[in-house]
């Protein structure tokens, strides 16, 4: 049996709002991913996808709080670790996380190469700047990224290039789990295809050992991940292979979701979409 890269058991996390209310945005979520596999997460906006991504790193900061459950990465329990320990020993190596809209959140005053140094130094790895540069150049070349991008500021790069750079930088330490939150949603189709191709290459090369891919774009998810999981109101309602989930979902909510898929293909313009009418 393949090794499990990620095993999450009954994970519950909550936001404590300014009004002091508890909002359970991740509610008893269990999931696992085997080495070499990818899992897609779909669900409506506000259902808790981004919160789940954050929660899976074992790294919590207010207003998000851990409540209960366990997270194991490649057998190692990362639940309940001190945030400093998580930063040094989990982020980037066990779990790499690409937040929603990451490509627009890069520090504009630093060059791309510096971000890689930051990652290495944050982990206190015994490498000097020259070694880091060499490693970065090799990785960029392997991923089809121009090496001179390392000497550029993020704003000088096109949107698609910037996103590929963000992914390459975040995964420089070959994480066991890559969590990508809407990594290509802001891009046009051609750039999107390049991002996906690069991510798949990274998986094939073992630079990333497993992947969680969050998006509400179902045709994309269908083409990218092995399995798809549907989330609703903080809970997992169904999981299956991409094919089962798109063509033969069981849960009524997943059925509604899949019936809403829009693609430019013959005959699809005549189907009716399920819409909620205000009552």
């Amino acid at each position: 049996m393949a090794k499990k890269m990620l095993e999450v058991n009954q994970l519950t996390t909550k936001y404590i709002t300014r009004q002091g209310e508890d909002v359970y945005s991740v509610d008893h979520v269990s999931l696992d991913i085997e080495e070499g596999k990818s899992l897609g997460i779909a669900g409506e906006s506000g259902c808790g996808k981004s919160t789940l991504a954050l929660s899976l790193m074992g790294y919590y900061f207010a207003p998000l709080h851990y409540t209960s459950g366990t997270i194991k990465v490649d057998g190692k329990d990362i639940t309940g670790l001190d945030p400093d320990v998580v930063r040094k020993t989990v982020l980037g190596t066990d779990v790499a996380y690409i937040p929603q809209a990451a490509m627009n959140a890069l520090n504009p005053t630093r060059k791309v190469g510096k971000f890689i140094e930051d990652v290495i130094f944050a982990h206190e790895l015994p490498m000097d700047k020259k070694q880091i540069r060499e490693m970065a150049e090799q990785r960029f070349a392997k991923l089809g990224l121009p090496v001179d991008a390392l000497d550029k500021h993020s704003v000088e790069l096109s949107g698609g290039m910037r996103q590929r750079v963000v992914i390459a930088v975040s995964t420089i330490l070959n994480p066991k789990v890559l969590i990508a939150d809407e990594p290509s949603s802001a891009l046009d189709v051609t750039s999107q295809k390049m991002v996906i191709k690069m991510m798949k290459d990274m998986m094939a090369e073992g630079m990333v050992k497993s992947m969680i891919f969050i998006t509400h774009e179902l045709p994309l998810l269908y083409n990218v991940t092995d399995d798809i999981m549907v989330m609703y109101a903080g809970q997992i309602v169904e999981r299956g292979s991409a094919k089962e989930m798109v063509f033969d979902p069981i849960h009524p909510y997943s059925r509604g979701l899949m019936r809403s898929i829009l693609v430019p293909e013959e005959g699809t313009r005549d189907v009716k979409l399920p819409a909620r009418r205000p009552t």
Binding site: C47, S158, K193, N223, V263, A275, R276, P278
Partner: protein, 299 residues
């Protein structure tokens, strides 16, 4: 811990279907002209470089028509929409509003034009003042439509109705700031604004890009209902080719500032003629046809 049942979450698929009115292939060329353009061009000069962002485009948008403008990043969509909105002057060519040359030369005329055209922008977070609570965003819309002196209860009723139209609960939003919502919730809030403003023309730059498929269907349904009720012309600017195919009465494909192809969605998207459109369509992930990654070239 509460289960979904206890949270009273509705999981049953009780949704109705989106209706497009009786005629999905209606001929809008017989409808009155709403907005048209001839040779519309915008050139930018920055330092020594000259960018022709929009390059001699012609278009005819009719009353009640839903038009999608599709093109890649940098093709000139936002520049064109700024010209349509009157935020940017064409450097060449002319725009006609209801068959007359559009005149926005004075402040008063601009104001009049803006009564009739409203926009929803790409990035919902940038559209809100982070210090304004959500109720005041909606209240502004009511005031803008001359509702300033309505009784407070009436205003609340209107805001609640607008929220429920986009499946937001007004009671849960009062007293919140925009950054306390998810991206999709913010986008729905923008559409609630349009519900209150009811313009002649709605220009929507990527209005559903952060929205999941289910809510998107609901929002399209809402926009289409608004369109059917008010005869509002809707201009969608989008990367989402599946969406453009499904929803549009006509589609314009933009490449490097030019319209390379336009027409009914079935013609343009299933039987594209321009090489650019062909490539674009082939890059869209589909579910019945394979999505070939082996041909991707990095650049």
């Amino acid at each position: 811990m509460k289960t979904n049942e206890e949270k009273n979450v509705q999981l049953e698929d009780k949704r109705e279907s989106v209706t497009f009115g009786s005629d999905r292939n209606k001929d809008f060329s017989k409808e009155p002209m709403c907005l048209s353009g001839r040779g519309v061009t915008r050139v930018f000069h920055t330092g020594k470089t000259t960018t022709v962002a929009v390059d001699h485009v012609d278009f005819d948008f009719h009353k009640g028509e839903l038009i999608s403008i599709v093109g890649e990043s940098g093709s000139g969509k936002t520049t064109l929409s700024k010209m349509l909105l009157g935020l940017l002057e064409p450097t060449e060519g002319e725009i006609f509003f209801k068959d007359k040359p559009r005149d926005i030369s004075s402040g008063a005329k601009k104001k009049e034009y803006w009564q009739g055209i409203q926009a929803i922008f790409q990035d919902p977070f940038s559209s809100y003042n982070v210090f304004h609570k959500i109720d005041s965003v909606l209240l502004d819309c009511i005031n803008m439509r001359g509702g300033k002196n309505l009784p407070k209860e009436k205003k609340y009723e209107m805001m609640a109705e607008a929220c429920s139209f986009v499946n937001l609960k007004f009671a849960e939003l009062t007293n919140k700031y925009p950054f306390e919502l998810s991206g999709g919730q913010m986008q729905r809030l923008m559409i609630a604004r349009i519900f209150l403003l009811k313009p002649d023309i709605l220009l929507a730059d990527e209005p559903t890009s952060m929205i999941d498929a289910c809510s998107r269907a609901t929002i399209l349904d809402m926009l289409l209902n608004l369109r059917n009720e008010t005869g509002m012309t809707v201009i969608f600017i989008t990367h989402d080719i599946g969406l453009a195919y499904y929803i549009s009465d006509s589609v314009y494909i933009m490449e490097h500032g030019k319209f390379v192809e336009s027409g009914k969605p079935d013609e343009v998207m299933l039987h594209p003629k321009a090489a650019y459109t062909k490539r674009l369509i082939s890059d869209v992930p589909k579910i019945h046809e394979p999505w070939d990654l082996s041909t991707v070239e990095f650049h």
